[in-house]
């Protein structure tokens, strides 16, 4: 894998530290009036999502991380692993629970997900920004209420629970923003 000089640091660059892949979030060049310059970086651990601060001597090199984002189609879950396919090459890849994180609850079969691969293995999975799902369970609401205020919990076909307006009924299809976990609208079938 390539190495990167601190002069190549920019947000989004993937580097290896302590055996884990990290992405640079922010990079600041600091230098006393005379003497050693440093790069003071904020970096995100791509396995845990945690952001920490790390300082490097300017001009030093850091090993790059073989991390790429690919669009893969979700196929099925076998009880232990989630199976994905590259729609171009038909190559199949499996992701474990750690890589899936909270994303599993948003996945319906055939959904196209952005999967981050580290050394060719799924490291994290991002669901589509918007998903369309059927409500399988929610309390009957007041039909006349279209205000959207208040709301109630609704369980979706994948098991995810979102707050929906009171007028939304069991069996209806809704659009959800997976980044916030919030209801967007009803969808006409």
């Amino acid at each position: 894998m390539a190495t990167y000089s601190t002069n190549e640091f920019k947000s989004g660059l993937k580097i290896m530290m302590d055996g884990d892949p990290y992405a640079i979030v922010e990079n600041e060049f600091v230098k006393p009036g005379k003497g050693q310059a440093f790069n003071r970086a904020k970096v995100r651990n791509l396995k845990t999502g945690r952001v920490i601060e790390r300082t490097f001597k300017s001009g030093d090199s850091v090993e790059g991380a073989d991390v790429v984002d690919v669009d893969l189609q979700y196929l099925y879950n076998d009880g232990e692993y989630w199976h994905f396919m590259d729609p171009q090459s038909y190559e199949q890849l499996t992701a474990d629970t750690a890589a899936m994180g909270d994303s599993a609850k948003w996945l319906k079969e055939e959904a196209i997900c952005q999967v981050t691969l580290w050394n060719g293995v799924p490291l994290s999975v991002a669901p589509p920004n918007f998903v369309v799902m059927t409500i399988v369970e929610t309390d009957p609401g007041v039909r006349g209420d279209t205000s959207g205020g208040g709301g109630k919990p609704a369980t979706l076909e994948t098991g995810a629970v979102v707050r929906v307006p009171l007028f939304v009924q069991n069996g209806e299809v809704i659009k959800v923003d997976t980044r916030t976990g919030e209801y967007v609208s009803r969808v006409k079938e």
Binding site: P32, G35, Q36, A37, F38, T55, F56, D60
Partner: protein, 331 residues
């Protein structure tokens, strides 16, 4: 027809550019009133700075003349030729020069920037600090509330903020202090050199607290960080160097200038040796400067002030790019 680049416009706004021009005019008036002569020296030179932490842009010269086929270097400061003028009897001089430093870019750095550099014959570093305070206070008055300027030794700021004596401390103690300050472990820090550790603590642990609401001069640096300042004998000997900070921003660096040609040559050689140890090429040292020192530099103090940073303070801007019409990304 190709579409024009989207970023042709200046970054600095009109008010900032007018303020910049006003500060330049006031600076020139200040030196005219103090009978300090404005000079110009070459930006492009056959000699270069040997400091292992400074990187010169280099370009080959292919035209006619004695420099044919030579590598020429853009200056990182006009210090060496200005000292040749002093040795030639110029008297007190100043220059407002564009200087160039490869590898320096960020919110407080642009690889090309403006230095205000001046030399006062017969001054020591304390007398020059007084004049720097006079000029900077005059330029910032009405734009930045400033309490009375303070002077603290390098030792005092380390004792005040980190409870350690920078002139007696070991690498082990410095490493412990770095950890206690919550600064991340920095790969590749040397175990036989305290200076990078002091630099780390200064930039990460102290700098942001220096000069809050006032001019803060830091003076008397470790001999190993004297750069081009003379050493004052003592236990330990100290470099007669100073830095100015305002609101955590490093604004100026000054010296009671080293005039000893032999000592200057030894420092150049030591710096080139340090470059070699780091895998960096040795730089051609300025033999003209050494010859001028040999002929005799008048006793003097000199200072280089980052003019763009002064404009940042006056304009209330957080990034150097905001006070430059076309910073590196749009140059």
């Amino acid at each position: 027809m190709p579409s024009p680049p989207r970023n042709w416009r200046p970054v600095a706004d009109g008010d900032t550019l007018r303020l910049r021009a006003e500060l330049l005019a006031k600076t020139r008036a200040f030196f005219a009133a103090h009978a300090v002569l404005e000079v110009e020296t070459p930006a492009l030179s056959a000699a270069a700075v040997t400091d292992p932490h400074l990187f010169s842009f280099a370009t080959p010269y292919s035209g006619p003349g004695p420099r044919h086929g030579r590598m020429l270097y853009l200056h990182t400061s006009p210090e060496f030729p200005m000292k040749r003028l002093l040795a030639a009897g110029s008297g007190c001089i100043y220059q407002i020069a564009k200087v160039f430093r490869d590898g320096e870019a960020g919110r407080r750095h642009n690889p090309e920037f403006t230095l205000l550099e001046w030399y006062r014959v017969g001054f020591d570093h304390h007398q020059l600090m007084t004049e720097v305070a006079e000029l900077v206070t005059m330029l910032l008055t009405g734009r930045l509330p400033l309490a009375t300027a303070e002077r603290l030794s390098y030792r005092e700021i380390f004792q005040r903020h980190l409870k350690l004596d920078p002139h007696r401390v070991s690498v082990t103690e410095l490493a412990r202090c770095v950890e206690q300050c919550g600064i991340s472990m920095v790969p590749g820090m040397p175990m036989d050199d305290v200076d990078p550790w002091l630099d780390l603590l200064l930039t990460h642990g102290i700098e942001s607290r220096l000069g809050q609401g006032r001019l803060s001069f830091i003076y008397d640096y470790p001999a190993s960080q004297a750069a081009l300042a003379r050493l004052r004998p003592g236990d330990p000997p100290l470099g007669e160097r100073f830095e100015l900070y305002v609101n955590g921003l490093e604004l100026a660096n000054g010296f009671h200038e080293l005039g000893d040609a032999g000592e200057q040559r030894r420092r150049f050689e030591a710096e080139n040796a340090a470059r070699g140890a780091q895998g960096l090429p040795a730089m051609p040292m300025d033999e003209n400067l050494l010859a001028a020192l040999e002929a005799g530099l008048p006793d003097c103090a000199g200072v280089a002030l980052g003019f763009d940073r002064l404009v940042m303070l006056a304009a209330g801007k957080a990034a150097i790019q905001d006070v430059i019409a076309f910073p590196a990304d749009r140059a």
